[in-house]
């Protein structure tokens, strides 16, 4: 990770979705720094806010979702306060995002080449069509796809190839930060492994910083340098991958790790976490995890735990006055 230059710094981020029955407090004060060159795994179950955080960074929250407070500083400039014109200079060019389902993200009426031409010329009118196609061909080749296939349409490609096209479209403007939201969820296990290998290779080649959003801790274990665990719209723990797996601090992280099947281990049974994730229209007082926490104390039911940091890791839990 070299000098450890922080390129993205999120502070006190709150995101809300007003709906008919109230307001979903999707993010409730999120703080996170992303260091140049790292792969940050953003992990949690459905509804924890991991995708909302990703969408907030590129300001693509679906209405009625909105950032109600907090900052998202990208290289010293607050993305949360930018107007559309400023955003266009960042989104897609400096920070790009790949989504879960490549079939719905690609236009069936556009050839692969047309997808690239449109993407490139949206960001830079000065690029000619033939130059854009040349860039597209080069990109396809670095993804292990022949440039002959530029004239083909999405339906002529396999699932794994479509996902590679998506990442190619995200990288063609050479962004420095890539946010990948569950990029392998729709893929079969072998294709998934191939894709994660490719992502690691591209990270080196394009000097990328990656935020990899996933519900599968297994996926990020080998790829991520650090892992952020989210629960109920909050960050409960951030740690280097090795430390997190070896010695999880937050009881939720501990429960999550114990509930994933590990094919390499002989463990007679999985540990289950009782209860279900919180209702974010009316989140529990204190720590959002306390109703399911096996180690909940009185204070957990009343007050939200502060974050404590040390030794390269951060945890938000009343069990810790400092990082042990």
């Amino acid at each position: 990770m070299g000098a450890g230059e922080t390129i993205l710094s999120i502070k006190g981020l709150h995101v809300e979705f007003p709906i008919s029955i109230g307001t979903v407090k999707a993010l409730q004060g999120v703080d996170l720094d992303i260091v140049k060159g790292e792969v940050m795994g953003l992990v949690g179950e459905s509804g924890c806010g991991k995708s909302t955080l990703g969408f907030s960074i590129v300001r693509l929250l679906r209405p009625p979702g909105r950032i109600t407070s907090g900052r998202i500083d990208y290289r010293g400039r607050n993305v949360a306060g930018m107007d559309e014109k400023e955003l266009l200079r960042i989104r897609g060019r400096r920070i790009a995002m790949v989504f879960q389902d490549p079939l719905t993200s690609l236009n069936p009426l556009f050839s692969i080449g047309q997808h690239f031409v449109e993407t490139i010329r949206t960001h830079d009118r000065a690029v000619t069509k033939s130059r854009a196609l040349e860039m597209a061909g080069d990109m396809l080749e670095s993804l292990g796809i022949s440039r002959q296939r530029l004239g083909e349409y999405p339906h002529q490609m396999s699932g794994g190839m479509r996902q590679r096209i998506m990442i190619g479209l995200a990288l063609v403007m050479r962004p420095e930060l890539l946010i990948a939201d569950e990029p392998t969820t729709a893929l079969d296990v072998i294709v998934e492994a191939q894709f994660l290998d490719l992502l690691e290779e591209l990270r080196g080649r394009f000097d990328l910083t990656v935020i990899l959003i996933t519900h599968n801790l297994g996926n990020v274990a080998q790829l991520a340098h650090r892992i952020t665990v989210m629960y109920g719209g909050t960050i409960v723990e951030v740690a280097p991958a090795g430390d997190l797996f070896r010695r999880p601090l937050h009881p939720y992280t501990e429960g999550l790790l114990a509930s994933i099947p590990n094919i390499r281990l002989d463990r007679p049974r999985l540990v289950t976490m009782p209860g279900s994730p919180p209702d974010l229209v009316d989140p529990p007082a204190g720590c959002v995890f306390h109703p399911r926490c096996p180690r909940a104390m009185d204070v957990c039911r009343r007050e939200r735990p502060p974050s404590v940091s040390g030794d390269g890791r951060t945890v938000s839990c009343w069990l810790y006055k400092e990082v042990p």
Partner: protein, 329 residues
Amino acid sequence: MREEIVRVRDLVKRFPVQRGILSGFLSSEARAVHAVDGVSFVISKGEVLGLVGESGSGKTTTGRLILGLTRPSAGEISYRGRPLASFGRAEMERLRTRMQVIFQDPYASLSPRMTVGDAVSHPLKIHGMASGERAREMAEEIMEKVGLTPAGFLYRKYPHQLSGGQRQRVAIARALVTSPDFVVADEPIAMADVSVRAMILELMVRLKEDFDLTYLFITHDLATCKYICDRIAVMYLGRIVEIGPIREVFSNPVHPYTRTLLEAVPVPDPEFRRTQPMPKGEIPNPVDPPAGCAFHPRCAYAEPACARERPELLPVGPGHEAACPVMAR
């Protein structure tokens, strides 16, 4: 020898391929996808057989064939030693109460307009097993058993008012309310979150003991098989490439495809490194599968004969068979 519940022999299912009008006139050759292409296995009482494969491997079609939801193009399925083809209409109806199914997506398999109680008691009414107050009692009883408590309260709820884990429990309760002895579970936890998955798996294991069930557990996830299956059958392009006791297959995988699948499973351990690279490419088009062994174009161990001869399952260990003459040598 334990009692046999389900046996399939040389099961084949072809789906005709839709084609353009003109090419239909020009060529008389009928094209078909061999979704299931000669599958045989036995499931004994009390056993959990895992049917594992990627999309397009034919695992779901195999499950549907066993349930009688689609007719086989060839081959035979028998239930407790009797071929399904010999069952009359009324007998088949009764059989449906004995063989049940849990689908992947509780959002899609539960009607949003039916209350939980209606959904769970529905099979009883359809099959004429109970109605009115009796059906309600039976439904509430099974709801309690699967952890949908308090059953009286949840009975009136609609699926959207439940959590993901509860919805999957409704799907399980609905499958078990007719007291089946055989259940096909088709990716029952694929849509669920990690913590919910563990809960559902544990529930299914407990229910199997409580109700003396036999499962066909269809999944793409090898890691979860470990926690529920006694044996697994690995499918690739409509054929079983390896079958055997779970421990035996996991510790001593023989077919190169099984090895690849095992190697590809994400491992929640940062220290873990894969020992072999992933093969290039993806599952070929099942309309036009490779000749010989369907895996040979992607196989690191392929020999010239693999492109010509279709391998049969060969014994490679106790109760363990693999369809690879190269590795079995």
